[in-house]
């Protein structure tokens, strides 16, 4: 039983203090289980605990460390070490969250029960599921987990990022780097183009005769005009973007020969270093729990990212279908704080305040050249909607000082996101 302030005062006035304290033992705290300690899950656990320290918050995630994808493209340019991407969950544990390291293998969304690989299970009143994305290793013929050991995706930071960097270091001058980009939706829409930029920045200095080709499944991409303006000025012929309808759409991968095959008689493309960013979907854990729809992602209500399939189960971050919000760390934390506030309100029987979400995504075209895209999102007619008066990208034709300022802000945002989610 949950007592509202008014209910308590009324009851106390009637029954008297002594009788009341005998009859009503303190209600056990509500239990919230968060699965996945990335930007979305770590941040949500943190704010659940901060907003209501009486809640019993458990965070289940894979063993530390967690490496941030944001800024991992700078590692590929030789500008950062892996240790600089490292995050841990110790601070959250110190703040009073019960942090469990392990692997969730099954979710019962009705009983709110999560099975772990060590045979144990966790049960809660509410579930918050934020396991990120799964690479669809059956969607692009020839590109599976074994192929990823030869042609890294590096779309999850860590060993894959280091592998791709090592391959770049071994690239002969005059060699070719290929980056294959999947159709949307995938995590971090401008990420492939930031990656291409920063690899080109390094090639220009270390392998000036090498060439980089982006093979894109799409004909348009995020911040396209800004990227192309910057590429022209910074990298000229060294970086080339091939749109889907001009042969950029890859249909088959041959890992052993580092070859990408395109349809309609285009290609094939052979590279010395080949980065395949595979198609993505919500992880199997969520699919098997019946939380996904035909899109492969989890449909949610925009008010508290509560699953449209199962009440009391919230799905946030990359795994949710939050369109038009992009799958970004910024979006994930904006959702996480709002969902934490909504859960705290709902558990008290109150109606949560109408949410306002924000996204700001910076991309680096060079270490001192940043651009951004931003949007404000509200719920209108039951749907998540970008506020039309707001948002947009950095201006074209801005001067070097403007681009340098946005590069500094890109680093500032990364620092703030990390401190907010993991600090």
């Amino acid at each position: 039983m949950r007592l509202t302030r008014r209910g308590f005062v009324g009851a106390a006035a009637l029954a008297g203090f002594a009788a009341l304290s005998r009859r009503l033992p303190a209600a056990p705290p509500a239990r919230v289980l968060v699965v996945g300690g990335g930007y979305a899950g770590a941040c949500c656990a943190k704010y659940l605990q901060r907003l209501d320290p009486a809640l019993a918050v458990t965070l289940l995630t894979r063993p530390d460390p967690y490496y941030t994808c944001p800024f991992s493209n700078l590692l590929l340019a030789g500008r950062l070490g892996l240790d600089e991407l490292e995050q841990r969950h110790d601070a959250l544990a110190h703040a009073g969250i019960e942090v469990r390291y392990g692997e969730a293998i099954a979710v019962d969304p009705v009983a709110k029960r999560v099975q772990l690989d060590d045979g144990s299970a966790l049960v809660a009143d509410r579930l918050v599921l934020a396991p990120g994305v799964e690479f669809a290793f059956d969607a692009l013929p020839g590109y599976d987990a074994a192929a990823a050991a030869i042609l890294p995706h590096a779309w999850e930071a860590g060993a894959q990022t280091v592998l791709l960097r090592r391959q770049l270091e071994a690239l002969p001058d005059g060699g070719t780097v290929l980056i294959s980009v999947p159709p949307e939706p995938y995590r971090c829409p401008p990420g492939p183009y930031e990656r291409a930029s920063l690899i080109a920045w390094w090639l220009r200095r270390a392998r000036p005769r090498a060439k980089l080709l982006i093979l894109d499944a799409k004909d348009r991409f995020s911040k396209q005009a800004l990227f192309r303006e910057g590429w022209q000025a910074l990298y000229g012929q060294q970086l080339e973007w091939v749109p889907g309808s001009d042969g950029g759409r890859i249909e088959r991968v041959e890992a052993a020969t580092r070859t990408l095959h395109a349809g309609f008689g285009f290609g094939p493309y052979r590279g010395d270093v080949v980065n395949v960013i595979p198609p993505q979907r919500a992880p199997k854990l969520l699919r098997e729990a019946g939380l996904t729809d035909a899109s492969g992602w989890c449909p949610v209500s925009p008010l508290a990212f509560e699953s449209s399939r199962h009440p009391g189960v919230h799905v946030l971050g990359d795994a949710a279908d939050a369109a038009p919000m992009p799958k970004s760390a910024y979006s994930a934390t904006s959702q996480a704080r709002a969902v934490a506030a909504a859960i705290v309100a709902q558990l008290r029987g109150e109606v949560p305040a109408a949410p306002v979400y924000l996204n700001t995504c910076y991309s680096l075209l060079a270490p001192d050249y940043g651009i951004s895209i931003a949007a404000v999102y509200r719920v209108a007619d039951g749907r998540l909607t970008a506020v039309p008066e707001a948002g947009g990208t950095s201006p074209l034709a801005a001067d070097a000082a403007f681009r340098a300022r946005e590069a500094v802000f890109a680093a500032g945002t990364w620092t703030s996101l990390n401190a907010d989610a993991f600090g």
């Binding site: 304290s21 904006s334 506030a341 306002v356 951004s372 506020v387 707001a390 946005e406 500032g412 401190a419």
Partner: protein, 94 residues
């Protein structure tokens, strides 16, 4: 009598649920840090004066001040919301 009763009550009364001010401000933490306290290159907002914050937000929205991303973001908020934001961040400790 009632007030005394409340003070003595062994039951823990829930604090106020997070209100609109928190909901609006929380979206800004991604750049400006938890509660508006930044440890990086982006300015902190916590503890700045309410008048300053309201003026800055209004100028970003109207274009009287030109920032980088803030002009694009401020246009997404009403007068009332900018006032709530300014008050919320002014009320935090630096």
């Amino acid at each position: 009598m009632l007030a005394a009763l409340l003070l003595l009550a062994p039951l823990r009364l829930p604090a106020e649920a997070p209100g609109r001010g928190f909901g609006l401000a929380a979206a800004c933490f991604g750049c400006h840090g938890t509660d508006g306290v930044s440890r990086g290159a982006i300015p902190s907002l916590a503890g700045r004066s309410e008048r300053f914050l309201l003026l800055a937000l209004g100028e970003y929205r109207s274009g009287a001040s030109s920032g980088t991303v803030m002009n694009r973001i401020a246009r997404g908020y009403s007068d009332e919301e900018l006032a709530l934001l300014a008050a919320w961040f002014a009320g935090r400790r630096e």
